[in-house]
């Protein structure tokens, strides 16, 4: 049926490709950043298509929805209403299978190994900048956009670089170190050049329903119940019972007690150790094989160097070059020499670093440019 009705013709549909700046697929989580990203692209004259990846069946966990955890069903509604508001077509992509395989399963495996995983990197690597790139091509889009705080710039030689965002506090390049550099010319990060306050102000002015929505904190699929509860809901009791072991004092080896499973601990943790001890103690080391959690004084948390496995580089570096290295998302970065050692890297900090945590990423910067990164292991 040919619709001649004016209301039907106002339904957003890409129709013929416009001759303007091109067609963009924008990943919309329902949060303020990606909503503003989509809206800015419309303002800039792109033909915009919005998509939300539904990554997790929230009906199976006791997560409280809509409080900034990405991609829950209330957030899908928010993304949809923003898309309606700015007049773009919007789709929900079911990615539960890919998400479980590429993000959830490795997350759980990492915890069982006594590591503290960083699932957002895998989500970027395997969903946002792999699965969505394919969707971008399939939907005949010229670009893929996300609400990441990151910037893409071109050097004087014409090479594309990923650089930190204007808002240094919100910068998310830490999560993007696995990026394929060939993709950079195809990517748009519309809020990367803005401060969070300006993003919110724009959202208010544009009347986006998400303008005052809380920032997402923590990991989207874990929710308020905490990591250990999440792990316990996903792992069989027989496996969990094998994670129990001894609490030992570092470095003497004195047995201080028993613990309920290595997944309850992370390096540098001092609360919840269950010890009635006069001095403040910290988790120094987790031994996944013997299930021993080593605790000790704070001074033992400092390390001068770290090994990095499965490195990935967006641009070349000189062996032994001093780069700025971030060892966790909220870390400001410390100068370190980076050495190639076979398939791995050795990172030697100019000053010892506190609580270097296996499972997290070490990410290297030259000034504002993201050089590369890899996974910390001890």
């Amino acid at each position: 049926m040919m619709m001649s009705d004016s209301k039907l013709n106002s339904i957003p549909s890409a129709g013929q490709k416009t001759q303007g700046k091109g067609r963009v697929l924008v990943a919309m989580s329902g949060g303020v950043d990606s909503s503003v990203a989509a809206s800015l692209l419309v303002d800039q004259g792109y033909e915009v298509i919005g998509a939300t990846m539904q990554v997790w069946d929230y009906s199976i966990c006791n997560i409280e929805e809509g409080n900034g955890s990405c991609c829950s069903s209330l957030d899908v509604d928010d993304a949809r209403s923003v898309a309606d508001h700015i007049g773009i077509p919007f789709y929900v992509l079911n990615c539960e299978h890919q998400f479980k395989e590429a993000v959830i399963d490795p997350f759980i495996a990492d915890y069982l190994q006594g590591n503290t995983p960083l699932p957002c990197v895998n989500c970027n690597t395997f969903l946002k900048f792999d699965h969505l790139v394919r969707k971008m091509k399939e939907l005949e889009c010229d670009f893929l956009a996300t609400g990441h705080y990151a910037q893409i710039s071109q050097t004087t030689t014409g090479r594309y670089e990923l650089t930190t965002s204007e808002d240094t506090w919100k910068d998310q390049t830490y999560f993007l170190f696995t990026m394929n550099p060939e993709l950079l010319p195809k990517l748009l990060f519309p809020v990367g050049g803005m401060n969070k306050a300006d993003v919110r102000q724009y959202a208010e002015e544009r009347g986006l329903v998400v303008a005052r929505k809380k920032d997402s904190t923590g990991i989207c699929f874990v929710g308020k119940s905490g990591y250990d509860n999440f792990i316990e809901s996903q792992v069989p009791a027989s496996v969990l019972s094998e994670l129990k072991g001894e609490l030992r004092r570092f470095p003497t080896g004195e047995v201080m007690g028993r613990h309920e499973g290595i997944h309850h601990y992370t390096i540098g943790q001092s609360k919840g150790l269950g010890l009635d001890h006069h001095e403040k103690m910290f988790v120094i080391k987790i031994d996944a094989k013997s299930k021993v959690v080593w605790i000790g004084e704070e001074k033992y948390l400092f390390k001068p160097s770290v090994k990095v496995e499965r490195p990935h580089f967006l641009q070349p570096f000189e062996n032994g070059e001093v780069l700025n290295v971030k060892i966790r998302y909220q870390h400001r970065g410390s100068a370190a020499r980076v050495f190639q050692e076979g398939a791995e890297l050795r990172v030697e900090f100019l000053e010892p670093q506190r609580a270097i945590t296996p499972g997290q990423a070490a990410v290297f910067y030259r000034d504002r440019a993201l050089v590369g990164g890899g996974w910390i292991h001890l």
């Binding site: 049926m1 040919m2 001649s4 890409a14 129709g15 539960e96 969707k135 091509k137 939907l139 005949e140």
Partner: protein, 460 residues
């Protein structure tokens, strides 16, 4: 009437050797062409003269709707009727003038419906939709069993039989009563759409209370052998319910002649609004309310009537006589669609086409092309189709109906459903095929390029 006064589409159809139906001619005569948003029924001279010439200049369509099994647009007449009926606002249960006015309208609607379906007016119970109608039958009978209130000759019967390809409203209602203790048998349907009558015969016994099998499948369009099912069931003394939702407006439908005991229908599949449905309950068939309340529907369904919906459905039913010519016309369009797709797009198969089927539905497996992506690509180009039932979209699982018919998960994920309607034109079908060709080629090229490049980066 001069052709130049007709809307563009009418001219197009004219070129395609189609003639207008008398009802359309009278409609144009009454209202003038500018009040007809799309050319309503056109009649073929005869099937042989229904010549589909290739369109030389491809018509540019901004929006083409080919998802009539999901829902249908309101017909012009129904829209007009609803607007008129909005000024009749009384409560039909009231004794006073306001109530009487609306009661008259509802009586007329019921009469129109009863006439169109070949049943008595009091055998129809208006509901909120076909889902409610089917639930009323299945849960109602189960409750009568539990209460030991089944009348003779059904007392003591407690087994149910259904098929594996039913709409969720039947499938899940059956699963729900099964959980509460009912015995439910499920008859398989083959990939070509064939219902296993032998299996039905084996399941039927003197304990069988109800056989519930849909008249036509929403996803593939295959038509079930209801007459034979009724014969077999009745010979065992069992009752028969059919979800006839997809048949209304697509097949000549006479519930009286069909001899079923219950049938579910939905208004929005027949050019009338959502939120209205009908349960046909043959006189004398056991009934228990799903919704208790006032004396509406002779106390068989509580709740103040959805007056606009019922009146609208009554109006839509006035067109029921056009089904037979639409059947021919749609079957011609569908055959044209399918033959072009099968000839011009490699590696496409049809599902459920080995048995009689609805004239408007094509269920295609397009190898190597993800249905979800295909749907989005087509939508972006203005074409509305579906991968399966609209009710199940958004679910990660491929269509349970297609899986039950023996398709692999991959085949089910590569499925596309195209369903035509009374306003579909040959030009739309041709424009769709051209677009589909491009989309499938594009998606297959990307799939080819991506093969072997997966798993490139290490997982952390």
């Amino acid at each position: 009437m001069p052709v130049k006064k007709l809307p563009v589409r009418a001219v197009l159809c004219k070129e395609l050797s189609l003639q207008m139906s008398p009802s359309h001619r009278s409609l144009i005569g009454d209202q003038g062409p500018e009040l007809v948003p799309f050319c309503w029924p056109f009649r073929t001279c005869s099937k042989s003269s229904f010549v589909l010439r290739p369109i030389l200049e491809m018509q540019e369509f901004s929006k083409v709707y080919l998802d009539f099994n999901a829902t249908t647009p309101l017909s012009t007449e129904v829209q007009k009727k609803i607007v008129d009926a909005m000024s009749v606002w009384g409560n039909p249960s009231s004794i006073h003038w306001a109530g009487r006015l609306i009661k008259t309208e509802l009586r007329e609607a019921r009469r129109s419906l009863a006439m169109g379906l070949g049943v008595g007016p009091l055998e129809l119970i208006f509901t909120s939709g076909a889902s409610e109608a089917s639930n009323t039958v299945i849960q109602g009978l189960w409750n009568l069993i539990l209460q030991k209130e089944l009348p003779e000759p059904w007392a003591g019967r407690r087994e149910f039989i259904t098929s594996t390809v039913e709409h969720p409203s039947v499938m899940k209602a059956m699963a729900a009563i099964e959980k509460r203790g009912a015995i439910v048998h499920r008859i398989p349907v083959a990939r070509d759409g064939a219902f296993d009558l032998a299996a039905l015969q084996q399941c039927l016994n003197d304990k069988t209370l109800l056989v519930s099998v849909m008249l036509a499948n929403n996803e593939t369009g295959h038509v079930m052998p209801i007459e034979r099912i009724v014969e077999l069931a009745h010979s065992c003394g069992a009752l028969v319910h059919t979800d006839a939702t997809q048949a209304l407006g697509k097949l000549p439908l006479n519930l009286g002649q069909l001899k079923v005991d219950y049938a579910s229908l939905s208004a929005h599949k027949f050019y009338a609004p959502k939120g209205t449905g009908v349960l046909f309950t043959k006189k004398g068939s056991p009934h228990q309310n799903l919704i208790f309340g006032g004396a509406q529907e002779r106390s068989r369904r509580g709740g103040t009537e959805n007056t606009l919906g019922q009146i609208a459905l009554g109006e839509a039913m006035k067109k029921i006589s056009e089904v037979s010519f639409q059947f021919e016309r749609l079957a011609g369009l569908r055959d044209h669609l399918e033959s072009r797709i099968l000839q011009e797009i490699p590696e496409v198969t049809l599902t459920g086409s080995g048995v009689p089927r609805l004239p408007n539905t094509s269920s295609l497996v397009i190898r190597g092309v993800d249905g979800e992506t295909m749907l989005m690509s087509l939508d972006l180009k203005g074409f509305a189709v579906s991968t399966g039932a609209a009710c199940s979209s958004g679910s990660p699982e491929p269509s349970p109906v297609l899986l039950a018919m023996g398709l692999t998960r991959e085949e089910a994920q590569n499925s596309l459903r195209v369903s035509l309607g009374w306003t579909t034109t040959a030009a739309e079908v041709d424009a769709f095929v051209e677009t589909l060709k491009g989309v499938v080629h594009h998606l297959r090229e990307i799939a080819k390029a991506e093969t072997g490049t997966t798993g490139k980066a290490a997982k952390g």
